[in-house]
Symmetry: C2
Amino acid sequence: MKRLLKNGTVVNVFSDTLDRENVLIEDGRIIGVGAYTDDEADVVEDVTGKYICPGFIDGHMHIESTMMTPAELAKAVLIHGTTGIVADPHEIANVCGKNGIEYMLEASEGLPLSVYFMLPSCVPSTPLDEAGAELSADDLRGFYENGRILGLAEMMNYVGVVNDDREVLAKIDDAVKEGRVIDGHAPLLTGKDLDKYVTAGIQSDHECSSFEEGCERIRKGQWVMVRQGTAARNLDDLIDLFDEPWNRRCLLVTDDKHPADIFHDGHIDAIVRRAVAKGKSPCAAIRMASIQAAGYFGLKRTGAVAPGYRADILILSDLDKVEVEDVYARGEKVVSQGCLTSIKTPSVDSSLYDAVRNSFNVRLQEAADFFIQPESDRCRVIRCIRRQLLTEEWIAEIDWNRDNGIDLERDILKIAVIERHNNTGHRGLGFINGIGLKKGAIASSISHDSHNLIVIGTSDEDMAAVANAVIEQGGGCAAVCDGKVLARVSLPIGGLMADTPAEEISREHHELMESIYSLGASEEVAPLMTMAFVSLTVIPFLKINTFGLVDVEKQEQISLYV
Amino acid sequence: MKRLLKNGTVVNVFSDTLDRENVLIEDGRIIGVGAYTDDEADVVEDVTGKYICPGFIDGHMHIESTMMTPAELAKAVLIHGTTGIVADPHEIANVCGKNGIEYMLEASEGLPLSVYFMLPSCVPSTPLDEAGAELSADDLRGFYENGRILGLAEMMNYVGVVNDDREVLAKIDDAVKEGRVIDGHAPLLTGKDLDKYVTAGIQSDHECSSFEEGCERIRKGQWVMVRQGTAARNLDDLIDLFDEPWNRRCLLVTDDKHPADIFHDGHIDAIVRRAVAKGKSPCAAIRMASIQAAGYFGLKRTGAVAPGYRADILILSDLDKVEVEDVYARGEKVVSQGCLTSIKTPSVDSSLYDAVRNSFNVRLQEAADFFIQPESDRCRVIRCIRRQLLTEEWIAEIDWNRDNGIDLERDILKIAVIERHNNTGHRGLGFINGIGLKKGAIASSISHDSHNLIVIGTSDEDMAAVANAVIEQGGGCAAVCDGKVLARVSLPIGGLMADTPAEEISREHHELMESIYSLGASEEVAPLMTMAFVSLTVIPFLKINTFGLVDVEKQEQISLYV
């Protein structure tokens, strides 16, 4: 069946021009761009006054951060014009290992959204982490046979790269041998250290936070992924990279974007829109969002409206505002007038599905499990800093006689990280300041990067209750007060993803947040986000894992007691 | 061993900037670009006031046209700053089939010049051709295992592509499946035919002869190879492609360049030099000559002065004049102050070498072999047009009583194409006008694309003598007068290549041309060049092959007699 899009204006990403051309499509490919007529097609779509634009590609994202399954994500982003994503299944791999990657591959197979993956390079993220799995170079190697595996995902272990860590280099070598790309993650790395990192084969970075940092990377041959997600928003600082010559070596990515943000704000379209609003060329921004992503990842004949190219095409009613009206994925019309046509959900092997849906392997909790043995009156308290993932160490006098050290007046709450993958019984207990709960407790199985069960509360009883609420639903987040569950988000897939649409997750999430605010934690604290990173032992200074407190700079466990 | 190039100015092809940086090299790779100091290196080269530039890559050339072996070619072009070439062994494949390709691979293995190949797509060029071999998709497939095979070479059979010829599509499909590139060759193809050709997977073209033609191809997603060789010189007409945005999708190629031209004029450096002299940006031209060629062909970490990149580096004493002083190939200094260091010639398997050195399989000729049986007084004569490869049909009255039809007054000479690969005894005989010989005869085994033995002469005796001179030396070109050999160029490898340096071939060639001019053919006629293409049955209108005259437009044999 041949389909003609006529009377439109093609956004040409090779010439950065707007060309009045008709576009002919057959068998999922564009077969002609030119003076084609109605009689050459079976179906004719008149797109007078509109723009025919290549579909957008997100060059780096974590599907898990959207809390959606690949199929639900496809629905959420296709309407925003994203027809391809390159995902790093780092989170689910930390929970479910190879099964997690397999699940992601199967759950995204055959979607109208082209879903590619990079292999998670750092599982677990550090030797201190007690994740659900460990992935060696041997474990990863076999995945390269799958055509949707494009390379090695963000190499966060730049210390390992710079110091020639054997296992790290083996993973890099495998990707190089396979002729695949290797993404970087090395914020603020510069000069000779950056040279060493780039020389090792790391070809991109999405952690740039200044124009100068981006320029240095481009000069050194890296591609810069301009990131605009939920927490990390680098677009404004990197806006000059949208100019020549820099834009030729940039792509656009979201990295981590929450369901509510995707639902309300959009996806890659939102980045293009904002860049254009800031005065940048729509052609250049669209080029960064399409052919350049395809070029970087070696995706053939993808990312342009040109003969032979995959017919991933957007019809925009407004170029500057990036108003997506229709979307064609491999030549099929999947979005019409902004509305999605039905999408078939890929079937996942049932044992694989069971594996990722039953990621919790931990017994139910009791209040006594949260009791801290008093050994010293002076303890290290994790002090959270607003709007930052950094934490500080606060040496505080603990009044053990008062609720086993919890002190609502000084905002000293109890925090627990409960190993939940292998039922080891490990748990780290400590105190945290800066969250602001005045009653109840909150818990979440989103806890970077090992995704153990993390609980913060004002009483051991409520901590046990909220932990059990999450355990019983097989993952997610919840808020409890006086033993009663106030709200919850159910994330049964790996404890990370729901199987409901963005809108519903967004609504549940909103209700949960309102409940948490009702317990006293203010919006400014971003309590769930803060909680999700308080266990990430790569961000300074004082963190907590399943064994207790961690001195991030020394990369070692440290006693609660001073 | 670490080598430091200090105090130079790096030509940065990512940012199009000239950066004052030091460059550190180790194990054939650049490992740092920045403020490195003497104590970080074992060898320090001070290049104050000079430019540190990536080595040039010729994106499409026929080594056979240089008449040199790969090793001699390496010597000839390295001093001009070419560190990589992508060659189409089309000519030797037409003579020796798979052996010809194997020979080229072995004879170029391990040279400091990085020699890559595309697989000849059209051997023989047309069904009318009686070449030394026929290469099917099956024959080609196995070659993709070699890492230096980058794809399928210029697909000249655009009629076959546009009409879905099964064998042509099989060759294309194989290249696509292997993820390799497919070069095009489709002069003046435009509009819907071009769409079909591009849709089939043809990703580049080197036959563009106007800016508009180049723009159309770039808009449609093809890469344009700006060609400047010996006969075809498109640079001046395509000069505006050196501007943005077009230059982003262009590379530089020589296609066919003769040894004398390489010796006197240069190689890719000559193209960059001329573009700069015409006011174009040196950074852009160098980018087209380096990273963009590497990018198009999927060569990883090649074509830039950046960390991790192969240390193919030029030291230029003048940027605008592209004065190449030193050349580093994979970190080794192979040219110093314009002089070549010694280059090891690759060893070729002896049976393979014998095969390509004994490509002549034809008996010695006698004068009687050139006799034409008079059947009609009106004959079709091939009329050559000065400075064109096109020929016309001239219906002439032949006076058979006078030298079997040869008529020096009307410049009607005799021409013969003698099958020389398989001793079939086939020979095409006819008459040719426009060459201008007044005595003697000339012969050559360079006769596109089948490279049979072609002879033009003023007498049957001298035609036999000159044919035998070429046969006895196993290939090449010669001029004879009254039975005496005046001059010759010996090309024993496939009848196409010498094993002597460019300078020597150039000198021999010059002597031969002087001899030919002494026989009456003027320089303006370009007699050897004209002779080399009078058997190419894809260029209109009247040509001659081993079976006699060919009507190119009808693609069929046609009688000598009217």
